[in-house]
Amino acid sequence: MKELQLGEFEEIVLLTVGILHGNAYGVTIRNEIENRLSREVSVGALQTTLRRLEKKGFVKSAHGEGNQARGGRPKLYFTITAHGQKAISSSRETRNALWDALPQLIAKPE
């Protein structure tokens, strides 16, 4: 179970990579998060998280094309792996289980 655990920001990034499905690279991931969650994301935080996710085997990266706006630098595309999918579903299940338990907890006193 432990290897499936995700931090809060890790979870957001992983979900966003999933949402972008095939078009996930530094710029799009960041824009997506900033637009959806309206919070500012620094390139540094995002990149280190992506590396960490890659190291854990939740995403994998692939070399892509460059363009003029990037000064010709290549893109690095990220896609979610099967292991990564397992991790987000597991995280969702954990939370659901917790949510399910919540009313009982409130009802319990007396």
């Binding site: 620094s42 390139v43 540094g44 990149q47 706006a69 990037r70 290549p74």
Partner: protein, 884 residues
């Protein structure tokens, strides 16, 4: 995207390129640029630039930053292991030079460790007082015809005045230390039959607030509140009451002036040698103050030591400034002035010249610290010489490593690891040796140092070992790592003479230091010989002295002293004892401590001159007992009833007064005319640092002179002393301990510092010479190795072994001679400056330097002699085929 030439901030882009990991760099820079372009379109250029900068700065985090250590792919642990392995192999291959290096380093580290222990111990004297940083001792400077004399004795009123009139003074104390009584033995009893001698001092109320003596019984704040209270040491409590719980008990002091019953108000932990103030019991200052009377309060008098603590923010310079004007403001006729020295400094800076502290113990500390550094340096140089000399043997190794891609830094690191690991081994051995020889060292240094391996010391030691290792390894590391790999692989040493010249310079340096130390040994031992054999004007051998005991009537009344009759009859008994030649009572201590007075006047005295005379008070036969000689006239004699108002002067005093035929003339002492009956030949009572002062000997038959000096016949002192002890115990109250001292031992103690310096110098020199010679053996074997072929050719061409020998010796002796040229003048100046501190000193003679130079040279020849001889006698054919 029409405005593609909108650029992000150049500096931040560069910065990013500088620190980003190469593997991430293109993608990240792409992302950053794309963001920038987007932002520029939506939010404008300015905002985009700001954001770019912010992003770059936020990228500065682990995971993104690249490693700045070059060739990060090398496995450091493996390289380290490899280097250690190579070190070990080299040790095995060249065991003799390893031993030479190790021996040198062990000796040097052990010596330095001892010197370090000694220095820290000396520096820790008196530093246990909590208020030490604002604790001052006040000294009195007295201008005299012989320069300004500095005296710890200050005015009785000073302590109180400072506290009342100086707002910056926090607390003050006046102390009459035990030394003030010049060796007089005080006897205490428990009120019954248990007697013991004690070092008593007087101090004012706040004494135990200023100084942090450890009070183990009693109330620290109220120790000397009562006039009849006394604070005693744990050891004295044990001697008197067989228990530390002495508070509230009563003790009796048997003394004609201060005698009586006192109540113990506190017990302090027995003092160790880390305190310069040494005493067993502290009595209330008012006891002695009332005994001395009102005249003692005058500003012309100077007796007690005065100590003050300043308030935390007070300025000591301003305080000193005000202090220097104090005496004049109290009595306009006085020329003396006061100054305060930080109390913790009084031990190390205890020599004053013209009223200013100029050093003292601190100079020996610095000197030996320097010697320790030099000895370490000599050992490090050995290491340098040996490693560079063996370079040819390791050339191929270096060549191969370089060819395989090793950088210069790696090879340098390898040599540094080698030298540091050898130093570490040496450190461990020398720690064991230090621990082993500490008792002997303590005996030699007169100390009780214990070696506590606290973390701080261990840290220092490791730092010292690393520094020495790096120092020793630095030059070889630089030299060897600089080889050209191609030439090294071919086996060609660099053609430059650099290596050789550096090696020779280092050898010369070692010999120079050894020679300077050798001269120092000769000069110091000559001066010590002078101290030992100097005709002092009296005979210090066969003399013992002690304080007279108390008689019964005194014990009952407790006030009357020994009457002149009682003293006389005791001396008669002594004189009748077999083995005793002469005996006499006297006052003060014969060495160093004596009274001085300006109260002498005569016809034609220049009133402007503040003539200061030393006063010696002795009984009949004092001059005979001491073995002094009369120049003219006679000494005091019992045959003349009126000798008590006569006077005897020494030669210097006679010269100062200037009478041509002094005998029978009169001179005025303290308002009373006295007839001069004799002139005694000059004698030394000060240390030989000082000129002989004018002095007079007055006759004292009463208990002012309560010490007894006894001259014994040479021979069986023990039997004589046993008989004297018997007379003493029969005459005085039984149970009062008979404690005597040999004057000769006092004299040895007087110069303990000089003798110790002498012994230290001898050891240091022997060690320096030993290490230098070790290095020389290594150096010689290397040089000879390289000249084998040359020697073979010379022999083939007809040189005799003797010619070869001379040739080889010449090359070593040139080095030694160069060292002499540097060292001898340097040692001349160093010796001269040391000797100049003595008023009576040996002259620097040419033979000191000749002997030092010759002995260093002989040692050199003896060291390299065998090797050289062997090489000069080898068969020439064997070495002609060498391909070096």
């Amino acid at each position: 995207m029409g405005n593609i030439n909108q650029q992000p901030p150049h500096f931040f882009r560069k910065l990013f390129r500088g620190f980003c990991k190469p593997s991430l760099h293109p993608y990240l820079e792409g992302d950053l640029l794309e963001h920038f372009q987007e932002k520029a379109q939506t939010h404008g250029l300015k905002k985009a630039r700001w954001r770019f900068a912010k992003d770059v700065i936020k990228l500065f985090r682990p995971g993104i930053i690249r490693s700045f250590i070059p060739s990060q792919k090398l496995n450091h642990a493996d390289m380290f292991k490899h280097n250690l392995l190579i070190t070990l192999r080299n040790v095995k291959r060249d065991f003799s030079s390893f031993i030479i290096n190790l021996l040198g380093l062990v000796t040097a580290l052990t010596t330095s460790l001892f010197i370090y222990l000694w220095i820290t111990d000396e520096a820790s004297v008196n530093d246990f007082h909590i208020k030490g940083d604002r604790l001052y001792q006040v000294f009195l400077n007295e201008p005299t015809p012989y320069g300004v004399e500095t005296d710890p004795g200050t005015q009785v009123q000073l302590a109180g005045t400072l506290k009342d009139e100086f707002p910056e003074v926090d607390q003050s104390a006046a102390v009459i230390p035990y030394e003030w009584f010049d060796g007089e033995k005080f006897v205490l009893s428990d009120g019954g039959e248990r007697f013991t001698s004690s070092r008593n001092q007087f101090a004012t109320k706040d004494y135990f607030q200023l100084f942090s003596f450890n009070i183990i019984r009693g109330n620290q704040a109220a120790l000397l509140n009562d006039k009849r209270s006394v604070v005693i040491s744990a050891e004295l409590a044990d001697r008197l009451f067989k228990s530390y719980d002495a508070v509230g008990k009563t003790l009796e002091w048997l003394h004609e002036d201060y005698g009586g019953l006192y109540q113990v108000s506190g017990v302090f932990e027995t003092l160790t040698s880390s305190s310069t103030q040494q005493f067993d019991a502290v009595f209330h200052f008012d006891i002695i103050k009332e005994d001395e009377g009102d005249s003692w309060l005058e500003w012309t008098e100077s007796d007690p030591s005065t100590f003050v603590t300043l308030k935390p923010k007070a300025n000591p310079e301003l305080f000193n400034d005000k202090l220097s004007k104090l005496v004049k403001s109290k009595n306009n006729n006085l020329q003396s002035y006061l100054f305060a020295q930080p109390f913790p400094d009084t031990y190390l800076y205890d020599r004053f010249e013209n009223g200013i502290p100029v050093g003292g113990r601190i100079s020996y500390l610095k000197l030996f610290g320097l010697i320790a550094v030099f000895i370490l340096l000599i050992a490090s140089i050995n290491f340098m010489i040996m490693s560079t000399a063996r370079a040819s043997k390791r050339m191929k190794e270096i060549g191969i490593k370089k060819a395989m891609g090793a950088e210069r830094a790696h090879i340098a690191m390898q040599y540094l690891i080698e030298s540091v690991s050898i130093t570490m081994i040496a450190l461990i051995i020398s720690l064991a040796l230090t621990w082993l020889f500490l008792p002997q060292f303590n005996q030699m240094a007169g100390k009780q140092i214990s070696m506590d391996l606290d973390p701080e010391l261990i840290l220092y030691l490791i730092l010292a070992a690393i520094t020495t290792g790096v120092l020793a390894g630095s030059y070889p590391a630089l030299y060897l790592s600089g080889f050209n790999p191609v030439r090294a692989l071919k086996g060609q040493l660099s053609k430059s003479l650099n290596g050789q010249i550096t090696r020779k310079t280092l050898v010369v340096f070692q010999f120079a230091i050894s020679t300077i130390l050798t001269v120092a040994v000769i000069v110091v031992s000559q001066q010590i010989n002078l101290i030992q054999s100097k005709d002092l004007g009296f005979d210090k051998e066969n003399l013992i002295w002690f304080t007279m005991g108390k008689t019964d009537s005194e014990k009952n009344g407790g006030v009357d002293g020994l009457s002149p009759e009682r003293i006389e009859s005791f001396l008669q008994l002594l004189n009748n004892t077999p083995g005793v030649q002469h005996s006499s009572n006297f006052a003060h201590n014969v060495l160093g401590a004596y009274g001085t007075t300006t109260g002498l006047s005569w016809d034609g005295k220049d009133p402007a001159v503040n003539a200061l005379f030393a006063q010696i008070a002795g009984g009949y036969e004092f001059i005979e007992t001491m073995g002094m000689e009369m120049k003219v006239g006679r000494s005091y004699s019992r045959d003349f009833s009126s000798d008590l108002d006569k006077i005897i002067l020494n030669e210097t005093a006679m010269a100062a007064i200037g009478y041509e035929n002094p005998i029978g003339k009169s001179i005025n002492l303290w308002g009373q005319d006295r007839e001069i009956i004799g002139v005694v030949k000059d004698f030394h009572i000060d240390m030989l640092y000082q000129d002989i002062k004018p002095a007079f000997i007055s006759l004292s038959s009463n208990d002012f002179a309560s010490q007894v000096m006894v001259r014994m016949s040479a021979g069986d002192h023990k039997a004589t002393i046993d008989r004297i002890k018997q007379v003493y115990e029969d005459y005085f109250i039984a149970g009062i301990p008979f404690e005597f001292q040999f004057l000769n031992e006092d004299y040895q103690r007087f110069y303990a510092r000089e003798f110790r310096a002498g012994v230290f110098t001898q050891y240091a020199t022997a060690i320096a010479l030993f290490i230098t010679c070790l290095g020389l053996v290594g150096f010689a074997s290397f040089t000879l190795q390289r000249r084998l072929k040359e020697i073979a050719i010379r022999k083939v061409l007809g040189s005799t072994p003797w010619q070869v020998l001379a040739l080889l010796f010449r090359s070593f002796l040139i080095l030694v001679l160069t060292a002499m040229v540097i060292a001898l003048p340097a040692s001349f100046f160093i010796s001269k400056s040391w000797l100049d501190t003595f008023a009576y000193r040996v002259d620097l003679e040419i033979w000191f330097f000749l002997v030092a130079g010759l002995s260093v040279m002989l040692i050199t020849i003896a060291t390299v002699g065998y090797q050289t001889l062997r090489v000069s006698r080898t068969n020439a054919v064997e070495h002609l085929s060498l391909d070096q």
